[in-house]
Symmetry: C2
Subunit: 333 residues, 2 copies
C-alpha cells in the first residue's frame, strides 16, 4: 500500500504501520490467492506471475479483514473471502486494461500490452471462475449469493459506463450511479462479508456495508481526479484513459455545467477529440474550481464513511478504518 | 436444434420430435435464463436481446435435463442449473467471438461486430457473474463447487489453446487435452449435475459424467471438421477462424503427420499465412484422408459415450441421449 499523507489524526504514518495489525492475515490471504490460481502450465504460470503488477493496494481484502476484526474475530472464511474479492478485483482490472487499451500498470506493461488481448480476456475469465469456485468452499451459499449479487451490479455498472461513453451530456446523477456500480458495490460487499462472517448483527452489517459504499465512491472520485491530474511516474499507470475513452468524470461534468455556453462548447470540442492532451483541459478545470469541487464531494463521502463507523466499539481496527478513509482521498496513486 | 440425419436407429427424426419429451422443461430453463439476466437499462437490454443469436442448440441444458430424466425426476434445481450452464456457455461464445474477431454467428452480426469489443467483454463477464449467482440459489454449495471447478478447467483449456496458437507442431495428445478442457469439461459437468440433482448414486454420476465428456470430445471434433469444410450458409457463422488464428485441429494434425516432409512443409507454409483460404488445404486433407480420420475418431468417442449409457435403465430419456450422440457427430451446423 502506498504511503499515507498527513491526516487530521496526526503526522503521516507509513502504510506498513497502518496495516501492521492485520499483516499476518493479509499474508494468509495472499497464500490462499496464490494457491488457488497456481498452474503447472508455463504460459498460464507466466501470466499469473505478471499479475503481481496488478496487485498493489490490497484495499479490498484489507477492508474485509479490518471490518471482521472490528466486529469480532478473523476466521479462515475471511482469508478465503479476502482472496475471492481480490481475485474479482484483479479480474476487472485485467479486463479494464483491455477495454481501455492501457499500456502501463504499476510501471510495467499491462498484460494486454505484453501478451495480447486473447490471453488477457481469458485470464480475466479464469480469475472470475476461480473466485467463484473459492467462494463456494466457505461452507454455506451465503458468500456466493452476496458476491454474485455484487458482481452482477459491478458488471452492469461497467456496461452502463461503456454505453455512456462519448455522452458529453452525462449528469452528476448518472456519474454517481455508474461509480456506485462499478466501484462502490465491491468495496461495500467486502465490508458486508467481513462483518457477516464475524457474526455481526444485521444493523452493524448494514452500517459497515454503507461504510464500504461511501468509501468506494470517495475512492473512485479520487481516482478520477488522479486520471486528470496525477503524474504517470507516481501512479505508474497510463493516465488520461477516461478522456481517451470519452468517459466524463465528476470534474469535467462540473466544469461543463459551470462554464458559459461558448466556453463549454470549446471544452466539448476538446473532449470530442480523443487525442486532446490532459493539459489542455486544465484552464477550464481551474476556472470552475472543478478539481476543488470534486475533492470536496470526495471528502463528503469520506465523512459519511467515517460516520458509519460510530456503530462500532472503539477498537484499533475501527481507528484504522477511519485512517484508511483519509488515505483513500489523499493518496497520489 | 438443427434437424437430425438418418441414424442407425432409423429414419431421420426432426429435432423438435427428439426433444419433445423435455420441451416443457427446456421452456422453464428459458424462463429462468431470461428472468435472471433481464435489465431495465436500454443498452444492456439490447445486448441481451442480441444474445438470441448465440443460443441455438441448447445442447448443454438438454444434456442436463435428459440425464436428470434418465436418473429420476426433473426438479426446480435442474431448471436453475440448466439456465446456469447455458449462461456459462453463452459467455464463452461471446468472449470467443472477440478472441476470434468473428463477424457472423447464426446468420447475424456477432455482438463484437455490432457493438464493439468493450460491450462484448463486459456482457460476457455479466453472464458469468449471473451464472454463478444463480447457481448459489439451489440451496447447497455443491453446484457452485462443481460448476466452479469445471469453469476453472474450461478457462485453462482456452488459455492452453491460445498459448499453442501458431504452433504447427501441436500433437494429437495436446489437441485432445485442449478440447477436453475447453469443450468436454462443460458437457461432462452438465451430465454430472443432471444426475447428481436427480439423486443418482455415485457410480451412475461418474458414468454419466464420462458420457458427457466423450460426447463433448466428439462434438468438438465435429465442430473442427465443420470449421474446415462446413458451408457458412448452413452454419450461419464465420468459418475458418481456427485457421486464421493458427489453431491446429485434428484433421490438420493428422495431415501434417502423414504427408511426406516436402508436402508437409508446403502445408505448413500455407498454415503460416492467416490469409490462406480453406479451399487450398483440401488437397492435403484429401490425400491423407484427414477428414475421414477425424470423423472416425469422433465416431469412437460417440461410441464410448453410448456405451456409458448402459448403466441406465432403458427409458425414453436414455434412448434420446443415444440419438443425441449420433446427432452430435452428424450435424451440418
Amino acid at each position: 500500500m502506498t504511503s499515507l499523507h498527513p491526516t487530521a489524526n496526526g503526522p503521516p504514518r507509513s502504510a506498513a504501520a497502518l496495516v501492521a495489525p492485520i499483516a499476518a492475515d493479509l499474508a494468509e490471504v495472499e497464500r490462499v490467492f496464490a494457491g488457488q490460481i497456481a498452474s503447472p502450465r508455463p504460459h498460464v504460470a507466466r501470466l499469473i506471475a505478471h499479475l503481481d503488477h496488478y496487485r498493489g493496494k490490497r484495499l479490498r481484502p484489507t477492508l474485509l479483514l479490518l471490518t471482521a476484526r472490528a466486529c469480532g474475530d478473523v476466521t479462515p472464511a475471511h482469508h478465503i473471502l479476502g482472496a475471492v474479492v481480490e481475485m474479482i478485483h484483479t479480474a476487472t482490472l485485467v479486463h479494464d486494461d483491455v477495454l481501455d487499451e492501457a499500456a502501463l500498470r504499476r510501471h510495467s506493461p499491462t498484460l494486454n500490452a505484453r501478451w495480447g488481448n486473447c490471453s488477457s480476456i481469458l485470464l480475466g475469465d479464469m480469475l472470475f471462475s476461480h473466485a467463484f469456485h473459492l467462494a463456494s468452499t466457505v461452507g454455506d451459499t451465503l458468500a456466493c449469493e452476496i458476491i454474485g449479487a455484487s458482481t452482477n451490479r459491478v458488471c452492469e455498472g461497467e456496461l452502463h459506463q461503456v454505453s455512456e461513453s462519448g455522452n458529453l451530456e452525462l449528469t452528476e446523477e448518472q456519474y454517481f450511479e455508474i461509480i456506485d456500480g462499478k466501484t462502490a458495490e465491491l468495496t461495500s460487499c467486502c465490508c458486508r462479508l467481513g462483518a457477516q462472517y464475524a457474526g455481526a448483527d444485521d444493523e452493524t452489517i448494514e452500517q459497515l456495508s454503507g461504510y464500504g459504499r461511501c468509501l468506494g465512491v470517495a475512492f473512485q472520485i479520487a481516482d478520477d481526479v488522479l486520471d486528470l491530474t496525477g503524474r504517470e511516474d507516481a501512479t505508474g499507470k497510463t493516465l488520461g484513459t477516461d478522456l481517451a475513452q470519452g468517459k466524463l468524470t465528476l470534474p469535467l461534468i462540473h466544469a461543463l455545467e459551470r462554464l458559459a455556453p461558448e466556453q463549454a462548447g470549446r471544452l466539448r470540442h476538446l473532449l470530442n477529440d480523443p487525442a486532446t492532451p490532459r493539459e489542455s483541459l486544465l484552464p477550464y478545470l481551474r476556472e470552475t474550481n472543478a478539481l476543488g469541487y470534486a475533492r470536496q464531494r470526495a471528502e463528503e463521502f469520506a465523512q459519511r464513511a467515517r460516520d458509519a463507523l460510530c456503530c462500532l466499539p472503539a477498537t484499533e481496527a475501527r481507528s484504522i478504518l477511519a485512517t484508511l478513509t483519509d488515505w483513500t482521498i489523499r493518496r497520489e496513486k
